[in-house]
Protein backbone atom coordinates (compact mmCIF):
# COMPACT_ATOMS: atom_id res chain seq x y z
CA UNK A 1 0.00 0.00 0.00
CA UNK A 2 2.85 2.41 0.81
CA UNK A 3 4.36 1.97 -2.66
CA UNK A 4 0.93 2.50 -4.24
CA UNK A 5 0.37 5.68 -2.23
CA UNK A 6 3.81 6.89 -3.36
CA UNK A 7 3.02 6.13 -7.03
CA UNK A 8 -0.37 7.90 -6.81
CA UNK A 9 1.17 10.88 -5.02
CA UNK A 10 3.88 11.18 -7.67
CA UNK A 11 1.19 11.01 -10.37
CA UNK A 12 -0.77 13.80 -8.70
CA UNK A 13 2.40 15.87 -8.31
CA UNK A 14 4.28 15.29 -11.58
CA UNK A 15 1.66 15.24 -14.30
CA UNK A 16 0.09 18.61 -13.49
CA UNK A 17 3.61 20.12 -13.62
CA UNK A 18 4.17 18.52 -17.04
CA UNK A 19 0.81 19.82 -18.28
CA UNK A 20 1.73 23.30 -17.07
CA UNK A 21 5.17 23.17 -18.73
CA UNK A 22 3.68 21.85 -21.98
CA UNK A 23 1.09 24.64 -21.97
CA UNK A 24 3.77 27.28 -21.31
CA UNK A 25 5.94 25.84 -24.13
CA UNK A 26 3.09 25.94 -26.66
CA UNK A 27 3.45 29.64 -27.58
CA UNK A 28 7.00 28.87 -28.78
CA UNK A 29 5.35 26.93 -31.60
CA UNK A 30 4.33 30.23 -33.16
CA UNK A 31 8.03 31.04 -33.72
CA UNK A 32 8.23 28.34 -36.38
CA UNK A 33 6.64 30.52 -39.04
CA UNK A 34 9.91 32.41 -39.46
CA UNK A 35 12.16 29.36 -39.55
CA UNK A 36 13.52 27.04 -42.23
CA UNK A 37 12.24 23.41 -42.30
CA UNK A 38 15.36 22.00 -40.57
CA UNK A 39 15.06 24.62 -37.84
CA UNK A 40 11.33 23.92 -37.49
CA UNK A 41 12.17 20.24 -37.10
CA UNK A 42 14.62 21.12 -34.31
CA UNK A 43 12.14 23.42 -32.58
CA UNK A 44 9.23 20.97 -32.68
CA UNK A 45 11.48 18.04 -31.70
CA UNK A 46 12.65 20.04 -28.69
CA UNK A 47 9.07 20.97 -27.76
CA UNK A 48 8.02 17.30 -27.99
CA UNK A 49 11.02 15.90 -26.12
CA UNK A 50 11.15 18.53 -23.35
CA UNK A 51 8.01 17.39 -21.44
CA UNK A 52 9.05 13.74 -21.77
CA UNK A 53 12.57 14.46 -20.50
CA UNK A 54 11.20 16.61 -17.70
CA UNK A 55 8.82 13.81 -16.73
CA UNK A 56 11.66 11.30 -16.50
CA UNK A 57 13.77 13.82 -14.58
CA UNK A 58 11.04 14.54 -12.03
CA UNK A 59 10.20 10.87 -11.58
CA UNK A 60 13.90 10.07 -11.15
CA UNK A 61 14.43 12.92 -8.69
CA UNK A 62 11.50 11.97 -6.51
CA UNK A 63 12.32 8.26 -6.49
CA UNK A 64 16.13 8.68 -6.26
CA UNK A 65 16.56 8.89 -2.43
CA UNK A 66 14.47 5.74 -1.89
CA UNK A 67 16.40 3.85 -4.57
CA UNK A 68 19.81 5.13 -3.40
CA UNK A 69 19.00 3.95 0.13
CA UNK A 70 18.83 0.41 -1.25
CA UNK A 71 22.44 0.64 -2.40
CA UNK A 72 23.85 2.77 0.41
CA UNK A 73 21.78 2.86 3.64
CA UNK A 74 23.67 5.97 4.76
CA UNK A 75 21.90 7.84 1.92
CA UNK A 76 18.54 7.02 3.53
CA UNK A 77 16.76 10.32 4.02
CA UNK A 78 13.73 8.78 5.71
CA UNK A 79 14.69 10.14 9.11
CA UNK A 80 14.28 13.75 10.13
CA UNK A 81 11.17 14.77 8.24
CA UNK A 82 9.70 17.12 10.79
CA UNK A 83 9.36 20.16 8.57
CA UNK A 84 7.51 18.69 5.59
CA UNK A 85 5.73 15.55 4.42
CA UNK A 86 7.69 12.52 3.33
CA UNK A 87 7.60 11.13 -0.26
CA UNK A 88 9.13 7.68 -0.13
CA UNK A 89 8.83 4.51 -2.19
CA UNK A 90 9.07 2.39 0.95
CA UNK A 91 7.10 4.43 3.48
CA UNK A 92 4.57 5.82 1.03
CA UNK A 93 3.07 9.28 1.19
CA UNK A 94 0.31 10.96 3.10
CA UNK A 95 -2.42 10.90 0.49
CA UNK A 96 -5.85 12.52 0.74
CA UNK A 97 -8.45 10.63 -1.36
CA UNK A 98 -9.01 13.50 -3.80
CA UNK A 99 -5.28 13.57 -4.65
CA UNK A 100 -5.23 9.78 -4.93
CA UNK A 101 -7.97 10.03 -7.57
CA UNK A 102 -6.06 12.73 -9.45
CA UNK A 103 -2.91 10.59 -9.35
CA UNK A 104 -4.77 7.51 -10.56
CA UNK A 105 -6.43 9.48 -13.38
CA UNK A 106 -3.10 10.96 -14.50
CA UNK A 107 -1.35 7.58 -14.58
CA UNK A 108 -4.33 6.01 -16.39
CA UNK A 109 -4.47 8.68 -19.09
CA UNK A 110 -0.72 8.49 -19.66
CA UNK A 111 -0.73 4.70 -19.63
CA UNK A 112 -3.54 4.51 -22.17
CA UNK A 113 -1.87 7.08 -24.42
CA UNK A 114 1.52 5.30 -24.25
CA UNK A 115 -0.04 1.89 -24.90
CA UNK A 116 -2.02 3.25 -27.85
CA UNK A 117 1.13 4.83 -29.32
CA UNK A 118 3.15 1.63 -28.85
CA UNK A 119 0.43 -0.48 -30.48
CA UNK A 120 0.24 1.96 -33.40
CA UNK A 121 4.00 1.69 -33.93
CA UNK A 122 3.91 -2.11 -33.75
CA UNK A 123 1.11 -2.18 -36.34
CA UNK A 124 3.08 0.13 -38.65
CA UNK A 125 6.07 -2.19 -38.37
CA UNK A 126 3.90 -5.26 -39.02
CA UNK A 127 2.25 -3.75 -42.11
CA UNK A 128 5.59 -2.47 -43.41
CA UNK A 129 7.24 -5.88 -42.94
CA UNK A 130 4.33 -7.69 -44.62
CA UNK A 131 4.40 -5.33 -47.61
CA UNK A 132 8.19 -5.63 -47.87
CA UNK A 133 7.88 -9.44 -47.92
CA UNK A 134 5.59 -9.14 -50.95
CA UNK A 135 7.75 -6.62 -52.79
CA UNK A 136 11.09 -6.47 -54.54
CA UNK A 137 13.83 -4.59 -52.74
CA UNK A 138 16.42 -2.60 -54.67
CA UNK A 139 18.73 -0.08 -52.99
CA UNK A 140 16.46 0.65 -49.99
CA UNK A 141 13.42 0.98 -52.28
CA UNK A 142 10.82 -1.80 -52.15
CA UNK A 143 8.36 -1.99 -55.04
CA UNK A 144 5.10 -3.50 -53.79
CA UNK A 145 2.63 -5.13 -56.23
CA UNK A 146 -0.28 -2.90 -55.22
CA UNK A 147 -2.69 -0.68 -57.13
CA UNK A 148 -2.94 1.80 -54.21
CA UNK A 149 -1.15 5.13 -54.03
CA UNK A 150 1.55 3.93 -51.67
CA UNK A 151 4.74 6.00 -51.37
CA UNK A 152 6.04 5.86 -47.81
CA UNK A 153 9.24 5.74 -45.81
CA UNK A 154 8.92 3.08 -43.10
CA UNK A 155 11.08 0.91 -40.85
CA UNK A 156 12.46 1.40 -37.36
CA UNK A 157 15.20 -1.23 -37.70
CA UNK A 158 15.76 -0.97 -41.47
CA UNK A 159 14.39 2.30 -42.86
CA UNK A 160 13.28 1.90 -46.46
CA UNK A 161 10.95 3.29 -49.10
CA UNK A 162 7.75 1.43 -49.92
CA UNK A 163 6.38 2.38 -53.32
CA UNK A 164 3.50 0.65 -55.09
CA UNK A 165 3.58 -0.57 -58.67
CA UNK A 166 0.69 1.80 -59.37
CA UNK A 167 2.86 4.78 -58.38
CA UNK A 168 5.75 3.43 -60.47
CA UNK A 169 3.49 3.06 -63.52
CA UNK A 170 1.30 6.15 -63.22
CA UNK A 171 3.89 8.84 -62.46
CA UNK A 172 5.93 10.43 -65.27
CA UNK A 173 9.66 9.63 -65.02
CA UNK A 174 10.59 13.03 -63.55
CA UNK A 175 7.67 12.82 -61.09
CA UNK A 176 8.78 9.36 -59.99
CA UNK A 177 12.36 10.58 -59.52
CA UNK A 178 11.01 13.44 -57.40
CA UNK A 179 8.79 11.15 -55.32
CA UNK A 180 11.66 8.72 -54.66
CA UNK A 181 14.07 11.58 -53.88
CA UNK A 182 11.53 12.86 -51.34
CA UNK A 183 11.21 9.46 -49.65
CA UNK A 184 14.97 8.81 -49.76
CA UNK A 185 15.43 12.10 -47.91
CA UNK A 186 13.14 10.75 -45.16
CA UNK A 187 15.18 7.53 -45.00
CA UNK A 188 18.50 9.40 -45.00
CA UNK A 189 17.43 11.54 -42.04
CA UNK A 190 15.91 8.61 -40.13
CA UNK A 191 12.46 10.22 -40.12
CA UNK A 192 10.56 6.95 -39.47
CA UNK A 193 12.64 6.43 -36.31
CA UNK A 194 12.19 10.03 -35.19
CA UNK A 195 8.49 9.70 -35.89
CA UNK A 196 8.34 6.64 -33.63
CA UNK A 197 10.36 8.26 -30.82
CA UNK A 198 8.34 11.46 -30.95
CA UNK A 199 5.05 9.54 -31.08
CA UNK A 200 5.99 7.98 -27.74
CA UNK A 201 7.20 11.32 -26.35
CA UNK A 202 3.97 12.96 -27.52
CA UNK A 203 1.98 10.31 -25.64
CA UNK A 204 3.49 11.60 -22.38
CA UNK A 205 2.88 15.24 -23.11
CA UNK A 206 -0.51 16.97 -23.36
CA UNK A 207 -1.27 19.35 -26.25
CA UNK A 208 1.22 17.35 -28.34
CA UNK A 209 -1.15 16.95 -31.29
CA UNK A 210 -0.43 20.48 -32.54
CA UNK A 211 3.33 20.13 -32.05
CA UNK A 212 3.38 16.72 -33.74
CA UNK A 213 1.43 18.14 -36.72
CA UNK A 214 3.93 21.01 -36.96
CA UNK A 215 6.81 18.50 -36.81
CA UNK A 216 5.25 16.48 -39.64
CA UNK A 217 4.77 19.62 -41.76
CA UNK A 218 8.41 20.58 -41.18
CA UNK A 219 9.70 17.09 -42.01
CA UNK A 220 7.64 16.97 -45.21
CA UNK A 221 8.82 20.44 -46.21
CA UNK A 222 12.45 19.42 -45.61
CA UNK A 223 12.00 16.29 -47.77
CA UNK A 224 10.21 18.40 -50.42
CA UNK A 225 13.19 20.78 -50.44
CA UNK A 226 15.68 17.91 -50.73
CA UNK A 227 13.74 16.48 -53.69
CA UNK A 228 13.31 19.94 -55.26
CA UNK A 229 17.06 20.52 -55.06
CA UNK A 230 17.71 17.53 -57.33
CA UNK A 231 14.52 17.31 -59.41
CA UNK A 232 12.99 20.81 -59.33
CA UNK A 233 10.06 22.14 -57.33
CA UNK A 234 7.60 21.72 -60.18
CA UNK A 235 8.36 18.00 -60.59
CA UNK A 236 7.88 17.50 -56.84
CA UNK A 237 4.56 19.40 -57.00
CA UNK A 238 3.35 17.24 -59.88
CA UNK A 239 4.44 14.09 -58.02
CA UNK A 240 2.42 15.15 -54.96
CA UNK A 241 -0.66 15.77 -57.09
CA UNK A 242 -0.25 12.50 -59.02
CA UNK A 243 0.01 10.42 -55.82
CA UNK A 244 -2.92 12.35 -54.29
CA UNK A 245 -4.96 11.45 -57.41
CA UNK A 246 -4.13 7.78 -56.92
CA UNK A 247 -5.31 8.10 -53.32
CA UNK A 248 -8.65 9.42 -54.64
CA UNK A 249 -9.36 6.08 -56.29
CA UNK A 250 -11.66 3.86 -54.22
CA UNK A 251 -9.85 2.20 -51.36
CA UNK A 252 -11.36 1.12 -48.09
CA UNK A 253 -10.64 3.19 -45.01
CA UNK A 254 -8.54 6.08 -46.30
CA UNK A 255 -7.42 8.68 -43.84
CA UNK A 256 -8.88 12.09 -43.06
CA UNK A 257 -9.30 14.61 -45.84
CA UNK A 258 -6.84 17.43 -45.18
CA UNK A 259 -6.44 19.07 -48.58
CA UNK A 260 -4.95 22.23 -47.06
CA UNK A 261 -1.71 20.31 -46.33
CA UNK A 262 -1.23 19.39 -49.97
CA UNK A 263 -2.16 22.86 -51.23
CA UNK A 264 0.24 24.51 -48.78
CA UNK A 265 3.10 22.27 -49.89
CA UNK A 266 2.49 22.79 -53.61
CA UNK A 267 2.23 26.58 -53.20
CA UNK A 268 5.42 26.54 -51.15
CA UNK A 269 7.30 24.48 -53.76
CA UNK A 270 6.23 26.85 -56.55
CA UNK A 271 7.02 30.03 -54.62
CA UNK A 272 10.42 31.74 -54.76
CA UNK A 273 12.47 30.82 -51.70
CA UNK A 274 13.37 33.47 -49.14
CA UNK A 275 16.51 32.77 -47.15
CA UNK A 276 15.21 31.32 -43.89
CA UNK A 277 16.57 32.09 -40.46
CA UNK A 278 18.42 29.40 -38.63
CA UNK A 279 17.75 27.94 -35.20
CA UNK A 280 19.61 25.94 -32.64
CA UNK A 281 16.50 24.96 -30.72
CA UNK A 282 17.27 21.25 -30.57
CA UNK A 283 20.91 21.75 -29.57
CA UNK A 284 19.79 24.30 -27.03
CA UNK A 285 17.26 21.88 -25.59
CA UNK A 286 19.79 19.05 -25.47
CA UNK A 287 22.36 21.30 -23.77
CA UNK A 288 19.71 22.40 -21.27
CA UNK A 289 18.74 18.75 -20.66
CA UNK A 290 22.39 17.82 -20.10
CA UNK A 291 22.93 20.72 -17.68
CA UNK A 292 19.68 19.81 -15.92
CA UNK A 293 20.84 16.21 -15.65
CA UNK A 294 24.17 17.27 -14.16
CA UNK A 295 22.39 19.62 -11.78
CA UNK A 296 19.99 16.91 -10.71
CA UNK A 297 22.80 14.43 -10.23
CA UNK A 298 24.45 16.95 -7.96
CA UNK A 299 21.47 18.36 -6.18
CA UNK A 300 18.78 15.71 -6.44
CA UNK A 301 18.22 15.73 -2.70
CA UNK A 302 17.41 19.42 -2.79
CA UNK A 303 14.98 18.87 -5.66
CA UNK A 304 13.48 15.91 -3.87
CA UNK A 305 12.89 18.02 -0.79
CA UNK A 306 11.44 20.77 -2.98
CA UNK A 307 8.96 18.20 -4.31
CA UNK A 308 8.14 17.23 -0.73
CA UNK A 309 7.62 20.89 0.18
CA UNK A 310 5.25 21.25 -2.78
CA UNK A 311 3.45 18.08 -1.71
CA UNK A 312 3.14 19.41 1.84
CA UNK A 313 1.62 22.63 0.53
CA UNK A 314 -0.90 20.64 -1.54
CA UNK A 315 -1.94 18.28 1.25
CA UNK A 316 -1.97 20.56 4.30
Amino acid sequence: MSTLSFVLAVGALVWPIIWLVAALALPFLAARRHLSPPSRIELTTALLLAPALLTLTLLGTIAAPSLLALIDPSRDHCLGHGHHLHLCLWHGAELPPWLAWIGAAMWTVTGVRLTHAALQLMETERLGAALTALGHMDDAVCVVPSSRGLCHAVGLVRPRVLVSKAVMERLAPDELDAALAHERAHVKHGDPRWSAALTLAAAISPFSGWVMAAWRDAVEDAADDAAAASCGGEAVSRALIAVARLRLEPAPGLGLVQPQGLERRVMRLLAPRPTPRGSRALWGALALATLTGIGIGWGHEGLHHAAEELWSALVR
Partner: protein, 121 residues
Protein backbone atom coordinates in the same frame (compact mmCIF):
# COMPACT_ATOMS: atom_id res chain seq x y z
CA UNK B 1 -8.03 -10.38 -48.31
CA UNK B 2 -6.01 -11.68 -45.39
CA UNK B 3 -2.37 -12.64 -45.29
CA UNK B 4 -1.97 -16.43 -45.53
CA UNK B 5 -0.81 -18.51 -42.61
CA UNK B 6 2.39 -20.54 -42.97
CA UNK B 7 0.66 -23.82 -43.81
CA UNK B 8 -1.88 -22.10 -46.08
CA UNK B 9 1.01 -20.51 -47.99
CA UNK B 10 2.75 -23.90 -48.41
CA UNK B 11 -0.48 -25.51 -49.65
CA UNK B 12 -1.19 -22.64 -52.06
CA UNK B 13 2.38 -22.96 -53.42
CA UNK B 14 1.76 -26.67 -54.01
CA UNK B 15 -1.50 -25.97 -55.86
CA UNK B 16 0.04 -23.18 -57.94
CA UNK B 17 2.92 -25.51 -58.89
CA UNK B 18 0.71 -28.42 -60.02
CA UNK B 19 -2.90 -27.42 -60.70
CA UNK B 20 -5.37 -29.07 -60.36
CA UNK B 21 -4.54 -31.58 -57.61
CA UNK B 22 -6.26 -33.88 -55.16
CA UNK B 23 -5.65 -33.85 -51.42
CA UNK B 24 -3.55 -37.00 -51.71
CA UNK B 25 -1.36 -35.55 -54.49
CA UNK B 26 -0.74 -32.34 -52.52
CA UNK B 27 -0.03 -34.24 -49.28
CA UNK B 28 2.44 -36.48 -51.16
CA UNK B 29 4.22 -33.42 -52.60
CA UNK B 30 4.53 -31.92 -49.12
CA UNK B 31 6.37 -34.92 -47.70
CA UNK B 32 9.91 -34.19 -46.57
CA UNK B 33 10.90 -31.26 -44.36
CA UNK B 34 7.32 -30.12 -43.86
CA UNK B 35 5.62 -33.48 -43.53
CA UNK B 36 1.90 -32.92 -42.91
CA UNK B 37 -0.86 -35.33 -42.06
CA UNK B 38 -3.37 -36.03 -44.82
CA UNK B 39 -6.22 -34.68 -42.69
CA UNK B 40 -4.29 -31.45 -41.93
CA UNK B 41 -3.81 -30.83 -45.66
CA UNK B 42 -7.48 -31.66 -46.31
CA UNK B 43 -8.64 -29.21 -43.64
CA UNK B 44 -6.35 -26.49 -44.96
CA UNK B 45 -7.55 -27.02 -48.54
CA UNK B 46 -11.16 -26.85 -47.38
CA UNK B 47 -10.45 -23.61 -45.48
CA UNK B 48 -8.76 -22.07 -48.53
CA UNK B 49 -11.76 -23.12 -50.64
CA UNK B 50 -14.13 -21.39 -48.20
CA UNK B 51 -11.94 -18.27 -48.35
CA UNK B 52 -12.42 -18.25 -52.13
CA UNK B 53 -8.76 -18.88 -52.90
CA UNK B 54 -9.34 -22.38 -54.33
CA UNK B 55 -11.94 -23.85 -56.67
CA UNK B 56 -12.76 -27.54 -56.52
CA UNK B 57 -14.66 -30.15 -58.46
CA UNK B 58 -15.39 -33.82 -57.89
CA UNK B 59 -13.00 -36.32 -59.45
CA UNK B 60 -14.50 -39.71 -58.62
CA UNK B 61 -14.71 -39.82 -54.83
CA UNK B 62 -12.10 -37.12 -54.26
CA UNK B 63 -12.08 -33.33 -54.63
CA UNK B 64 -9.66 -31.84 -57.15
CA UNK B 65 -8.48 -28.36 -56.17
CA UNK B 66 -7.36 -25.50 -58.44
CA UNK B 67 -6.28 -21.96 -57.60
CA UNK B 68 -8.99 -19.33 -58.07
CA UNK B 69 -6.34 -16.80 -59.07
CA UNK B 70 -2.71 -16.76 -60.11
CA UNK B 71 0.04 -16.19 -57.57
CA UNK B 72 0.62 -12.66 -58.98
CA UNK B 73 -3.09 -11.78 -58.70
CA UNK B 74 -3.19 -13.10 -55.15
CA UNK B 75 -0.10 -11.12 -54.16
CA UNK B 76 -1.62 -7.96 -55.63
CA UNK B 77 -4.84 -8.46 -53.64
CA UNK B 78 -2.92 -9.05 -50.41
CA UNK B 79 -0.66 -6.06 -51.12
CA UNK B 80 -3.74 -3.88 -51.83
CA UNK B 81 -5.30 -4.91 -48.52
CA UNK B 82 -2.07 -4.24 -46.61
CA UNK B 83 -1.47 -0.94 -48.42
CA UNK B 84 -5.04 0.19 -47.65
CA UNK B 85 -4.50 -0.75 -44.02
CA UNK B 86 -1.25 1.23 -43.93
CA UNK B 87 -2.87 4.25 -45.59
CA UNK B 88 -5.74 4.14 -43.10
CA UNK B 89 -3.54 3.37 -40.11
CA UNK B 90 -2.20 6.83 -39.33
CA UNK B 91 1.30 8.23 -39.49
CA UNK B 92 3.03 6.89 -36.38
CA UNK B 93 6.49 5.58 -37.28
CA UNK B 94 6.37 6.44 -40.97
CA UNK B 95 6.52 9.32 -43.43
CA UNK B 96 4.13 9.51 -46.38
CA UNK B 97 4.64 11.47 -49.60
CA UNK B 98 1.03 12.65 -49.35
CA UNK B 99 -0.46 12.29 -45.90
CA UNK B 100 -4.13 12.57 -46.80
CA UNK B 101 -6.50 12.36 -49.74
CA UNK B 102 -7.60 15.59 -51.39
CA UNK B 103 -10.65 16.30 -53.52
CA UNK B 104 -10.42 16.21 -57.33
CA UNK B 105 -11.34 19.90 -57.72
CA UNK B 106 -8.34 20.98 -55.64
CA UNK B 107 -6.01 18.73 -57.63
CA UNK B 108 -7.39 20.18 -60.89
CA UNK B 109 -6.81 23.70 -59.57
CA UNK B 110 -3.24 22.93 -58.49
CA UNK B 111 -2.47 21.29 -61.84
CA UNK B 112 -3.85 24.36 -63.67
CA UNK B 113 -1.65 26.54 -61.48
CA UNK B 114 1.46 24.54 -62.39
CA UNK B 115 0.53 24.66 -66.09
CA UNK B 116 -0.01 28.41 -65.89
CA UNK B 117 3.39 28.92 -64.24
CA UNK B 118 5.00 26.80 -66.91
CA UNK B 119 3.45 29.10 -69.55
CA UNK B 120 4.60 32.23 -67.68
CA UNK B 121 7.85 31.46 -65.88
Amino acid sequence: MSHLGELEQVVMEAVWAHPPSTVREIADRMRGDADRAYTTVMTTLDRLHRKGLLRREKDGLAWRYDAAMSRAEHERLVADALASALLAHGDAGLAALVDASADGALLDRLEALIAARRGHP
